[in-house]
Symmetry: D2
């Protein structure tokens, strides 16, 4: 039996990667120079910029990033809707007894949503609302956690007992993608001034996306710069 | 505010489909006869059987089924891991206030799991366990539902309030697939004597799969028979 | 043995479809209204426009179009690079003896390319160039066709004999897609004034794309209008 | 202008890879142990064998192999029909002038096919047939190559001139896959005694597949052994 715990951050660890701007250039040169291209890289920034602008996406696919993510179930659910170029393995409530870590928003997370669908604006809320939210989440989570443990103690199968666990529960998953599928994810799951298309991600998946964005920037700075320059639309 | 409700079945409604054995035959004949094939169908059973046996999967893809599924969140989560050849749209806890329908297993659903991973056997459990499970699930669900409503009444955003809702909550989603992706789903999410490979689906997703299997059998009887004859391995 | 034939058009026949603007609306309403949505359509134009603008692509996937395409091999090769949401079955040179239809550009097809990669401009060419092209293509095609037939007559396997056949040879294939994957194809394989991103398709695949575009416009006029309004970027 | 050349082998170079049995084990342990799994590997052979037998395919996806392939166009065409988990970049006849390398089967390549579709048997053929094939292919290829060069010399666009080039011409392409998509490719594109399902690949794509199989065996020996033990059906 693990202890009940509240947590307000998400975890994104880059487990391994095999991704560089040179990979993009090599792949693109196969198209324009054939087999003799191997080894030459030439002037990568211009080429990468051109590929991004004209939406030649395939050269960005010969790269891979594997992340270990710790996030609430509602984030994992949104994340796994991204199918093309993504692979996942998630902690299973059928195979293991789950840990008691639950998500509670930090103080700076706005709690009130005003406006209509597709154009919500979030506001901070009063300090009462903030306190009541934290209290309401904790009490509800504790009740769910209590019944989960009681069902397990009673000998009930894990796959049945877990039915009471809320989507605020933390899960962990492996997520592997390539630079193209990662950019597509970033375009929809972050808010950024330079975006050609608006997006309205829930803050918690954006917290995951921001850490993945940092990994892309570090491994593939030219690709990352070109992505920003062309409106953060994945090629 | 909707009422609290327990429910033990799942709902699978075939919204529309465009799928027949003749579609498979036509597509396969393009390979062997080219453009002149259109219109001829010939002896479909033998051809479909041959395609299945030799794992020529693509002719089965020119078909489509759209289902509206009502099932608990933990089923939707498993379902949406099927990516290739599947499309989904699910009810969103960000865009709407969710309904208070929760899943409680029926009396014939075994509750106790014995053995080791990959070879679990389920047993019925005592009548005390059955009663305690039903009671534990209901009390926990009611607590979650209570806090969800209280947070909403307090003006908290839906996307925050829903964090307390359990994976036993019902959701609804559109799911579109083709005959090939449907057979792949069935091979992993049902238990059937004739299967070449063992599978250990959770009972609740099998309940969804069984209804989809009936739709396949009805629309594409020859394809369905060939699927069974060849060990329920998707081509 | 079929006769040698030159052909300058491509063929695109809509074999079947199951696609309407109402399908998009229904799927989107599952997200915002859940299971009760079925049957209501409301004001579809505004909703479809909003989905396109905010790049909610999944509601467009619950639709299907199946085309029978007759086009040169070099077009089929480009077409089949489109993977996500597309299914294909092509005439096979291993299973059948191929027909002697070859592609020769019509008189209005520009033959000369000037400028640098990514920004080519095509020019008409002189009448000598036009005549020489037509003559060169025909002579070369006839030589290939002669050797193909001679190898077959000599008893050589079709899969070996076909090695001499050029990419200008006509093939035929079934292609099934949904509205989202079709829009993605159109965004890359047509040239259109309203496009947010430039594209430089080869004229012959654009001839295929134009006929598919007409099918989209006819079945899903609101979707098609929204696609144009938002820069012909697939959602 | 490059020289005319006949070639009877294919080239498969492993450009880079990031794939080991430990990757599979780590990903699978996330399911059964959650985030604490990282670092432990335990007894990998048994686990990998179990994953293969029960068709848990996703743990095999967190790996990547990038190959540079040189093969005739008819091989590239078959290869690129493999979509799920594969990425490609191919030499473009629109962007570059193509090289004059053409495929002619080696002496041990059977040329005669007897029997009916789905159950062909290949036979060696007489020495006259062998000589005639080689001669027929070479003469036809030379004719195509002559006209390609003449059209280019006449100033005709590369994308038009290439229409005369045969599918026996060599191309080169980058192909990136993961261990799961690679096993699926091998199951369909090789002939092997231990296969649960029959397959009838053309010999030339099998030559490509054999070299990729060697790369899989070397990087992931336990995965490779389990693949063979379970009938060469991809999980």
């Amino acid at each position: 039996m693990t202890e009940f715990k509240l947590r307000r951050d998400v975890g994104v660890r880059l487990v391994k990667s095999n991704a560089s701007d040179a990979d993009v250039v090599q792949a693109a040169r196969v198209s324009t120079q054939g087999v003799d291209s191997l080894g030459e890289v030439g002037k990568p920034a211009g080429l990468i910029n051109y590929l991004m602008r004209d939406r030649h996406g395939s050269p960005f696919e010969h790269t891979s990033f594997t992340f270990l993510v710790e996030a609430p179930l509602f984030v994992a659910r949104e994340h796994m809707r991204h199918r093309a170029g993504w692979s996942y393995n998630e902690e299973s409530g059928r195979y293991k007894e789950l840990e008691g870590s639950f998500y509670a928003p930090g103080k700076d997370r706005p709690l009130i949503q005003v406006g209509k669908p597709g154009a919500y604006v979030f506001e901070q809320g009063t300090s009462e609302q903030s306190r009541d939210t934290r209290e309401g989440l904790e009490l509800s989570y504790r009740a769910s956690w209590f019944y989960y443990q009681r069902l397990l103690e009673d000998g009930i199968a894990r796959e049945v007992a877990r039915m009471v666990l809320p989507v605020g529960l933390f899960t962990s998953y492996y997520a592997t993608c390539n630079a193209r599928s990662l950019m597509h994810f970033l375009s929809l799951r972050t808010i950024s001034e330079g975006s050609l298309f608006p997006s309205f991600p829930q803050r918690e998946i954006e917290m995951v996306a921001e850490q993945m964005e940092a990994a892309l920037e570090k491994s593939m700075p030219l690709t990352y710069a070109a992505f920003g320059r062309h409106g953060r639309v994945a090629p």
